[in-house]
């Protein structure tokens, strides 16, 4: 079975997705995805996970249900999403129109020595998402597809959606966002107008 890695540059993809983000709220999954989101530009509407492997999509669901008038984007990797694969079924039961999940798929566990992931060994995340009941799925291999996805993120009734984005497996320089979880939480909630107790 051949590995299904793509050619897209992960930093360019994330930067493009977050351009003109408007009201978009962003959850980033453990690992390189958090570095990519931070590298695209600090924003109080970003919540970077530094742990909670497998939990990014569910954090996104809780947020999307609480904030139905704001678009919510989860940006994570194939390995992180694979660990929480059941969450795709859970998200489908709720059908949150404002939730999108962008899986940066390089077919590898990039943080831990570049072992092939299940995705790299042939699993198709967008097919799994479709089977789980996610109505809008896509398999993106070029920047034109990224641009179409970016435009769709603002549609609060079009989700939930999952995009598998084929990125290259090359390593990029780390860009480290703040690691203090309480700071990130309070910054995010303040951005939404909730007072710090």
């Amino acid at each position: 079975m051949s590995s299904a890695t793509g050619t897209l540059d992960r930093r360019a993809v994330v930067k493009a997705l977050l351009a003109e983000r408007g009201e978009l709220l962003v959850i980033s999954g453990l690992g390189s995805s958090s570095y990519d989101v931070f590298d695209a530009g600090e924003h109080p509407g970003n919540f970077y996970l530094w742990g909670a492997m497998g939990g990014a999509a569910m954090v996104g669901l809780g947020l999307a249900l609480a904030q139905p008038k704001r678009p919510v984007l989860v940006i994570t990797g194939d390995g992180e999403q694979l660990m929480g694969i059941g969450s795709l079924l859970t998200i489908a039961t709720r059908q949150p129109g404002n939730l999108s999940i962008a899986v940066l798929d390089n077919g590898h566990f990039g943080e831990t020595g570049m072992q092939l992931s299940h995705s790299g060994l042939g699993a198709k995340l967008e097919v799994i998402a479709s089977g789980a009941g996610i109505p809008s799925v896509s398999d993106i291999a070029d920047m034109a597809g990224i641009e179409r996805l970016r435009a769709s993120l603002q549609d609060l009734r079009g989700g939930p959606r999952l995009a598998r984005i084929r990125i290259s497996a090359g390593e990029v320089e780390r860009a480290l966002p703040p690691r203090d979880g309480t700071f990130l939480k309070n910054r995010f909630r303040s951005h939404l107008g909730f007072a710090v107790k």
């Binding site: 909670a52 939990g55 669901l61 809780g62 859970t90 709720r94 939480k185």
Partner: protein, 185 residues
């Protein structure tokens, strides 16, 4: 499977799930998520019937921990229902709550303690308090149906006002002895 559970005889006639539901409403809980348990079935039905509570069924318990974090980020109070056999699944995800000091209120129906029929339930039931405590989660017990509102209220204050992770372990004695019968078909 040659046996099925047909019903449960409640050890008490008191309607403690309704008391829990009312207390959660008093605290403004807006999201409820669960892995099903017979002991929680009434509360789950009440939640599904309540348009003001977004109710989510999970495939595994740790999903609910992450959901509660996202709910809080967005201004919602969430509660997670599970049975004791699911507590071990949550251990690593509880790091998220501790690292960010996210509130967590989880209500756990106990198995493996009072008149347990299934030996496979006993190891996780016995380890349930410690599994929470090793991650810094505060454990409260609800043993008396008359104390349901008081205990849940105390736990909710500790979670939502005190930014703590709190588990209320609901005694298997309150849920009642599980009755088994031969399947007839």
């Amino acid at each position: 499977m040659d046996q099925i559970a047909v019903h449960q005889d409640n050890a008490t006639s008191r309607d403690w799930p309704v008391a829990i539901y009312r207390t959660l409403k008093d605290f403004g809980v807006a999201q409820l998520c669960y892995v099903p348990d017979a002991g929680h079935s009434k509360l789950i039905r009440l939640s599904h019937a309540d348009a003001d509570i977004k109710t989510t069924v999970l495939t595994t318990e740790e999903e609910g921990v992450a959901l509660a974090a996202g709910a809080w980020l967005g201004g919602d109070r969430a509660v997670l229902l599970m049975q004791s056999s699911g507590v071990g699944n949550c251990v690593n995800m509880l790091s998220l709550m501790a690292s960010c000091r996210f509130p967590l209120l989880t209500l756990v129906t106990m198995r493996g303690e009072w008149a347990e029929f299934n030996p496979w339930q006993i190891p996780m039931g016995k380890a349930t308090p410690q599994a929470f405590e090793i991650m810094g989660t505060t454990v409260l017990r609800l043993d008396d149906p008359d104390e349901a509102d008081e205990v849940i209220s105390a736990a909710a204050s500790l979670a939502y006002d005190g930014d703590q992770q709190v588990a209320v372990l609901i005694s298997q004695r309150m849920i009642g002895r599980k009755k088994w019968t031969r399947e007839t078909h």
